[in-house]
């Protein structure tokens, strides 16, 4: 094993440069977050007198005020409801379709699959107004269910792609054995195929969850009152809601990002695997 001491000068320089770069990347990612976190404990006067000083004392005043001023918990609750329902519905519906596409032949199959997967290349922001009209026509505007419908569709192409691949990778002998034993189509799907496709279901689920949790544009267009607005939207009101109470505003930002960071810390391996699942073929 060669140690740092035994490297040539050029290699030493390269080694140092590499870690300077890596440190730069880490700081870029963390510094803004750490600063916001730190500022949420400072008093208003401290924030205004010096933006990068350390807090003189730790108090959670900002947090209690933030929760009083902004209905952040209501938005959080809406986000949880919309995102969890969307994730379950999306994965379930797309697993059904993906299974058919992976296993069975029928007339028009290739065209139908091409159409469904083409939706991956449609820039959805181009369809803001027509999607609103559709949702409005269904009487779902400004309702959580309207957002659930749109979000389920937004993640349709990715989930289809991932799940079809998963079902294709499961050996056919599994189903054939079950059919020999007299299991019907529905039982084969629920009792054999779904449990075996767990990894794909998890990947599609995580992707759908993240996309919904962070979605902003359609939430902005499709909602008009507190009852359906989601957490990302609540952030855009902070500037006006908190006017000059900066401590509370920083606290509110921390409250809004903490759930994502906790979930990422807990499930990072699964999340990283899911994020790469759509892009990489193994």
């Amino acid at each position: 094993m060669r140690t740092f001491k035994h490297l040539k000068t050029v290699e030493k320089l390269g080694f140092v440069a590499k870690y300077v770069f890596l440190l730069g990347c880490v700081c870029t990612a963390l510094f803004p977050l750490v600063w916001v976190f730190m500022s949420s404990f400072k008093t208003n006067a401290e924030i205004l007198s010096n933006g990068i000083s350390l807090p003189s004392r730790f108090s959670f005043d900002g947090y209690t005020q933030a929760l009083k001023i902004s209905p952040i918990l209501q938005y959080f609750f809406n986000s949880v409801v919309i995102t969890s329902i969307t994730t379950v519905v999306n994965v379930f519906f797309l697993a059904m379709a993906a299974y058919i596409f992976a296993r069975y032949q029928f007339r028009g199959k290739n065209i139908l699959y091409l159409l469904l997967s083409l939706s991956l290349v449609i820039p959805m922001t181009a369809l803001l107004h027509p999607v609103y009209m559709t949702i409005n026509a269904l009487h779902l505007a400004n309702k959580k269910s309207g957002l659930v419908l749109v979000y389920t569709a937004l993640n349709l192409p990715m989930s289809l792609l991932i799940l079809r691949g998963t079902f294709q990778s499961i050996p056919r002998s599994m189903e054939e054995a079950a059919v020999m034993d007299g299991a019907g189509f529905v039982r084969v799907f629920f009792q054999i195929m779904l449990p075996m496709a767990k990894s794909g279901l998890a990947s599609a689920g995580v992707l759908t969850f993240l996309n919904c949790w962070n979605e902003f544009t359609f939430a902005l267009v499709l909602t008009s009152s507190q009852s359906a607005r989601t957490l990302p939207l609540s952030l855009s009101y902070f500037t006006s809601q908190f006017s000059f109470n900066y401590t509370a505003m920083f606290a509110a930002i921390v409250i809004a990002i903490i759930p994502s960071i906790v979930v990422f810390a807990l499930f990072q391996e699964q999340i990283v695997r899911s994020l790469t699942a759509g892009a990489i073929k193994e």
Binding site: A29, I52, A97, L210, V221
Partner: protein
């Protein structure tokens, strides 16, 4: 295998209905209504041919938005993706702490854009923002620059809210790089190739397709960028940081000119198809890679 027709229909129906409602019908509506004079208060909807497109090509706001969109796509596809690839090329050699670095660098990509936007509104705040505070600390005078609202700095400032956070590109390229057969690299090393040569002559060509894929993703992301701009500058000052989605939203929500908003929508779709085709051609990313 055989399947009863009713199961086939039942299993496909939810996805097909979703597709019809949220993709197919709106797509037809966006093209069709761009040829009309549909507004909120108009007495009826009339076919007006290409009038909206003629207005589009005379609209200075449109050119500003198109220019910004294209510049941002270009920056994102080239500089942002390069940053991610460069980091992945360091991390795949598994240096000390590589997993932790990968995870930490990914954090800004996990948080919602609205939150990142709000954070940067504060970072760039003229009074207590990090940037001005740092400049004051380093002794460059009492600066009170409003980075996001100053015409000279608004565009680069908005760009900084997403430019450096290439975690998504990094983990995708890194996952591909880690799946490459170690023995191939070992053979090159035995033959005396330096790390730099291995990266340039072996890794990059092997990663070409996946880099193309991340570029397609980057282009599509930038084409549809809305939240970060909306939260930070809302397209201002003037129209300096407006892109196509923001222009569309403005026409839709303040002018209530639905037909013209959808004309901009058609334009977004066209720019999307054009840039995807271009990237796919140059990187030979085939469809199976998505």
């Amino acid at each position: 295998m055989k399947i009863k027709k009713r199961w086939l229909v039942l299993f496909l129906a939810p996805s097909v209905i979703l597709f019809m409602l949220i993709y197919a019908a709106p797509l037809i509506m966006v093209f069709a209504s761009s040829l009309t004079d549909w507004r909120l208060m108009s007495p009826g909807i009339h076919f007006t041919g290409f009038a909206n497109y003629i207005r589009l090509f005379k609209d200075p706001d449109f050119y500003m938005a198109l220019k910004n969109t294209l510049i941002w796509i270009l920056i994102h596809c080239i500089a942002h993706v390069s940053l991610g690839v460069f980091l992945a090329l360091i991390l795949y050699k598994r240096p000390w702490g590589w997993k932790a670095i990968r995870t930490v660098y990914m954090v800004p990509n996990i948080i919602s854009n609205a939150a990142i936007g709000m954070i940067f509104v504060n970072v760039f705040n003229p009074r207590f923002g990090v940037l001005n505070s740092l400049i004051r600390l380093l002794g460059f005078g009492d600066i009170n620059k409003n980075w996001l609202m100053d015409a000279a700095t608004a565009f680069p400032s908005v760009t900084m809210t997403w430019f450096l956070f290439a975690g998504y590109t990094t983990i995708i390229v890194l996952a591909q790089a880690l799946s490459i057969d170690e023995s191939m690299l070992e053979a090159a090393r035995v033959d005396g190739a330096s790390n730099f040569q291995i990266d340039r002559l072996i890794m990059l060509p092997l990663l070409k397709k996946i880099i193309g894929t991340t570029m397609v993703m980057a282009a599509s992301y930038m084409l549809q960028m809305f939240d970060l701009i909306y939260v930070t500058t809302n397209g201002g000052p003037g129209k300096m940081t407006t892109n196509l989605p923001l222009l569309l939203y403005g026409v839709y929500r303040s002018e209530y000119n639905y037909a013209y908003a959808n004309t901009i929508g058609v334009c977004i779709i066209v720019v999307g198809l054009f840039s995807m085709t271009l990237i796919n051609r140059s990187f030979k990313v085939n469809e199976a890679d998505y």
